[in-house]
């Protein structure tokens, strides 16, 4: 049992799953940057009270699952999404989907993911992959961050689908149901709603923890880390910041570049000179995130460690916050005529 399916590699797992599943039902116009932008994927938050792997919790993108959900909704595509109480029921439903010719997206945990290198296996439960068939006893897997397709035994797949802890996937399965064809006009509207929502998320969420103010807040905190945590722990916190920023499937600097690519592609659908100009701002922001990461590496490698070094990283984040604030403010000035 195998569904005709083309594996597509992507920079980020959820974008990739979205693009592949849509392509699979005949909607080939949606590229990874478009999916990311329409799903308003760009975000930042720092939640000081929440701990992940004994370090602070950062996110550079929206909540897992939202990119797929929003992109499909904006394009008027119905989505089937299911979670399960029991493993048996989850497996049965998966078999049914495959038998009906649907490739399906699955939310999984990476700790037990057999084809990931050991160094990357943490209890992180918001990874996404596609199951597109079964050969003998092995499920055929298209994981968007991998160059090639993989396969997993029923037991291995069940184990990652029922990973536990924060954001436990509970066997979550989802796929888009084919609907009417997508026109350029639909995409234009989707782009508009994606950008508008992203402006809201980055500029107008109240409180200091989310969006542009979250970046500034993190910058302020970093300057205090050396005194409050000591150089060693502060270094680990910075390593965590960089890992959340750049690691597979989570690239924060990477996300800024994807968004810049999205704005370029958006220009192809809607000719407004603001779009390419702001795209350049996000390239700059991505570059700044990476420069900050290089500085941070100096600290957790033990090469740097003075208060000035921490201040410099904090200042980079202030600069990033300013660049992204200006960028979204500029996007808010677009006069949409649809």
């Amino acid at each position: 049992m195998q569904i005709e399916f083309k594996h597509i590699q992507a920079a980020h797992c959820e974008n990739g799953v979205t693009v592949s599943l849509l392509k699979n039902i005949g909607i080939g116009e949606i590229t990874e940057p478009l999916a990311f932008g329409i799903g308003s994927g760009l975000f930042f938050t720092y939640i000081p009270l929440l701990k992940v792997n004994n370090g602070p919790a950062f996110a550079y993108r929206t909540m897992p699952g939202l990119i797929f959900k929003r992109t499909c909704r904006a394009l008027g595509i119905t989505v089937l999404r299911k979670r399960f109480r029991t493993k048996a029921r989850a497996q049965e439903f998966l078999e049914q989907c495959l038998a009906n010719g649907h490739a399906v997206g699955c939310q999984v945990g990476v700790y037990y993911l057999p084809y990931f290198p050991k160094e990357y296996r943490f209890h992180f439960n918001a990874h996404n992959l596609i199951v597109y068939g079964k050969e003998q006893d092995r499920y055929l897997i298209s994981d968007p961050v991998m160059e090639n397709t993989e396969s997993m035994s029923a037991y291995e797949l069940e184990r990652v689908r029922f990973a536990r802890g924060v954001l436990a996937p509970k066997g979550q399965i989802y796929y888009p149901i084919a609907s009417r064809p997508i026109t350029d006009d639909t995409i234009r509207r989707a782009i508009k709603s994606g950008i508008t929502r992203n402006i809201r998320d980055m500029l107008h969420i109240p409180g200091p923890f989310a969006g542009v103010s979250g970046i500034r807040y993190t910058g302020r905190r970093i300057k205090k880390w050396r005194d409050s945590l000591g150089t060693k722990k502060a270094g680990l916190y910075l390593a965590q910041l960089v890992r959340m920023q750049e690691e597979i499937g989570t690239g924060g600097g990477g996300f800024r570049y994807i968004y810049a690519a999205f704005l370029q592609e958006a220009y192809g659908f809607y000719l407004d000179d603001i779009l390419p100009a702001v795209s350049a701002s996000f390239t700059k922001s991505g570059d700044l995130w990476r420069t900050a990461a290089v500085e941070a590496a100096g600290i957790y490698k033990g090469r740097l460690g003075s208060q000035e070094d921490f201040n410099r990283i904090g200042d980079y984040l202030f600069e990033i916050a300013e660049v992204e604030k200006q960028a979204f403010t500029a996007l808010a000035k677009i006069k949409w005529q649809l």
């Binding site: 920079a11 792997n53 004994n54 160094e119 961050v145 536990r164 924060v166 390593a239 890992r243 690239g251």
Partner: protein
Amino acid sequence: MKKEEVPQDLSSLGKITKEVCYATDAAGKYTTELSQGWDVKISALDAAWQDIGERVEAAKARVLRGEASPLLYFMELKLMDIKVLSGYSRFWQWQIKRHLRPAVFKKLSDRTLRRYADVFDISVADLNSLNVHAD
């Protein structure tokens, strides 16, 4: 980031798969480029694993000093916190906190120990003796 600037420092992931990166070409247009890894990321991951190693050793020392039960050692070894262990073992978090006390742990039934050992993929004997088989 320009296409030529996409880092190519071989990481442990890079040996298995390359990662897609978005970068600009000569005309400033975005395109994708594969990356083998980036030194800054590799060292961040190394720093994290070094910390894990230290936590595991510290946990082992505490267990041997009788300050914590062997659960603590295996939790650190398997990168679990109480919430994750609670999810896999189906014990309540308050129960696990109790079981982390050596005096309570000693009195646990075989069935309870079995449940923990299954979560950690080890035998009950290993759970009691802190024995780790290399995998």
